[in-house]
């Protein structure tokens, strides 16, 4: 299959979704769908390190907020346009990813996870004490006028986030099918054996953490324009850590499809629950579903479907 093929399919799906939403005409749906697409991006990015390589990163909020605050800074300093914000957010996230990549030299398993969690706390403390970007009380960001063809800016942001999500899934798809993905899987299964079988484990781990960090940073870059009030508590929200881990686990961590399935299902359930029941229920839903999956279908939905399919055909 050609490398651009999944990207084009993803774009077509996105376009159909966009036209449907336009037909419905309710602005709230763009708002809600943006969050779901953002989770597709976050879950996919997380999975490149957590699912493919086997290093569980609890620091998603650190990368996401770093992307968001890089954008805030560039808006304040230069009124930089959105594409610049996205690239810059990605680069800074990628740099942080490279940093945690070197952590993997000494920290494995749960110790690595704890370190990434601490990273989020440290960064949040720094931002809280940095007045220029709003400190603890946050900062107001004014949206630019919406581009032609779009009736409002959120509609435009929805499409931007959609393209980013499709691009990230394409990257994951490509990694999974390439020699890089096979090397990452070997590292996940047994790092020592992988190294002894010729896999340059450090190089591949650095690649995984950098790509994952880049995409997590990218996800945060449009955030200031989406919320318009950026404050540390929401940018460093623990929800990002929990969801970006739970969504691939529920969908299935070994394929690109897993995070997408998990993000769409769980993200939609959360959005529906927020409107119909209460916004506090989100984490409870995630928790219950995650526990259920870990017990009943540890390979996630994709794994479960494959197993059933195999038994049917065998």
């Amino acid at each position: 299959m050609k490398r651009t093929f999944p990207f084009l399919i993803g774009l077509s799906v996105l376009l159909v979704l966009f036209l449907v939403l336009r037909g419905v005409g309710n602005r709230y749906y763009y708002f809600a769908s943006y969050v779901i697409l953002q989770y597709v991006l976050l879950a996919t990015a997380w999975n490149i390190l957590g699912g493919y390589t086997g290093y569980v990163n609890f620091g998603t909020p650190a990368f996401f907020a770093l992307g968001a605050y890089t954008a805030v800074l560039l808006i304040l300093l230069f009124k930089a346009p959105l594409p610049v914000l996205i690239v810059a957010g990605g680069l800074v996230g990628g740099l942080l990813g490279l940093g945690i990549g070197y952590l993997t030299l000494r920290l494995k398993g749960v110790f690595f996870s704890i370190a990434t969690l601490a990273l989020a706390v440290v960064l949040q403390t720094m931002v809280v004490n940095w007045e220029y970007v709003g400190g603890a009380k946050g900062i107001n960001i004014f949206r630019p006028p919406s581009p032609p063809w779009f009736s409002n800016y959120v509609e435009f942001l929805f499409l931007v986030m959609g393209v980013l999500a499709v691009a990230s899934v394409t990257v994951a798809w490509w990694i999974e099918r390439s020699w890089i993905g096979r090397g990452l899987a070997a590292i996940r299964d047994n790092e020592e054996a992988a190294e002894c079988m010729g896999v340059p484990t450090l190089k591949l781990k650095l690649l995984a953490t950098t790509v994952s960090g880049f995409l997590l940073g990218v996800a945060g870059a449009p955030f200031p324009y989406y919320v318009t009030l950026v404050e540390p508590a929401s940018a460093f929200d623990l929800n990002y850590a929990v969801n970006s881990l739970a969504m691939p686990m529920i969908g299935g961590t070994t394929t690109w499809m897993g995070p997408v399935v998990g993000a769409v299902l769980l993200g939609t359930a959360q959005q529906v629950a927020t409107v119909t029941i209460s916004s506090e229920l989100n984490l409870l839903i995630v928790g219950v579903v995650l526990v259920g999956f870990v017990i009943l279908a540890p390979q996630g939905i994709v794994g479960l479907v494959r197993k059933v399919w195999k038994e049917r055909t065998a």
Binding site: W179, R182, G183, C196, G198
Partner: protein, 241 residues
């Protein structure tokens, strides 16, 4: 040039205050069947880890084909031609048997090309080892002897010049030991130098042309199997005074 395929010169390895290897030297000739024995905790696996790159030696030199490799990471040593099997099998659990072999074929044997013939080559090795019937089985579902064969096959897939078998027969029945021994003889005839670490004396005595004995991190004897068996120091190390 030293003329040896592998030359270990005065290698020392310490873990904190404990000296696991104390100025150990040995030489392995090209095409040789070499045995490394010693009581539990004598430093055999530590030495193997230093040679394969899983550990860095604190002193001394390790030369492979005349080149000092002590500074190279493990994966580069594998690409140069040193492959090992693990004492406790470490299969890639999420992969099939065939896929397990594709990793070293792709990364060690053909690291620049990432060629497309890899599955066919893997199948060929599985046939040689006698594991082709299980090619598409998940590696975690294998039994003990199959797991050992997979370890060997995977090491072979790195296309090594030197194969280090770290207790590749532990826990096998005597018929299965013969199975693995015959395999190793076959690989050796194919031109691969083999270093065997083994507790099963019957196997290592039959297999090796030359043996080095370690005890408490030091080399205490070296020679043909007969010489080693009749060596007083070896007897003392194994049986006491």
């Amino acid at each position: 040039m030293s003329g040896f395929l592998l030359e270990v010169r005065n290698v020392t390895k310490r873990f904190g205050g404990f000296t696991a290897l104390n100025t150990v030297s040995l030489q392995v000739k090209e095409g040789e069947r070499f045995g490394l024995i010693g009581p539990n905790g004598s430093g055999k696996t530590t030495l193997i880890n230093c040679i394969s790159g899983a550990l860095r030696n604190d002193g001394g030199q390790i030369l492979f084909r005349g080149r000092d490799i002590a500074a190279l990471p493990a994966h580069q040593r594998t690409r140069l031609g040193i492959a090992r099997s693990f004492q406790i099998p470490k299969p890639f659990a999420s992969m099939t048997v065939l896929q397990n072999l594709c990793i070293p074929l792709e990364y060690a044997a053909n690291p620049t090309s990432h060629g497309a013939d890899v599955p066919a080559e893997a199948m060929e090795i599985l046939r040689l080892i006698g594991l082709h019937a299980k090619a598409h089985a998940m590696s975690v579902g294998l039994n003990q002897i199959e797991m050992r064969k997979l370890e060997l096959a995977r090491a072979m897939a790195a296309r090594p010049k030197l194969l280090i078998s770290d207790e590749g027969m532990a826990g096998l029945s005597s018929g299965e030991v013969d199975d693995i021994l015959n395999l190793l003889f076959k690989l050796n005839e194919g031109g691969i130098t083999i270093v065997m670490i083994e507790h099963i004396m019957r196997a290592v005595m039959r297999f090796s042309e030359r043996i080095v004995v370690l005890d408490a991190g030091e080399k205490i004897a070296e020679g043909t199997p007969d010489e080693v068996v009749n060596n007083k120091a070896v007897e003392k190390a194994y049986l006491g005074e």
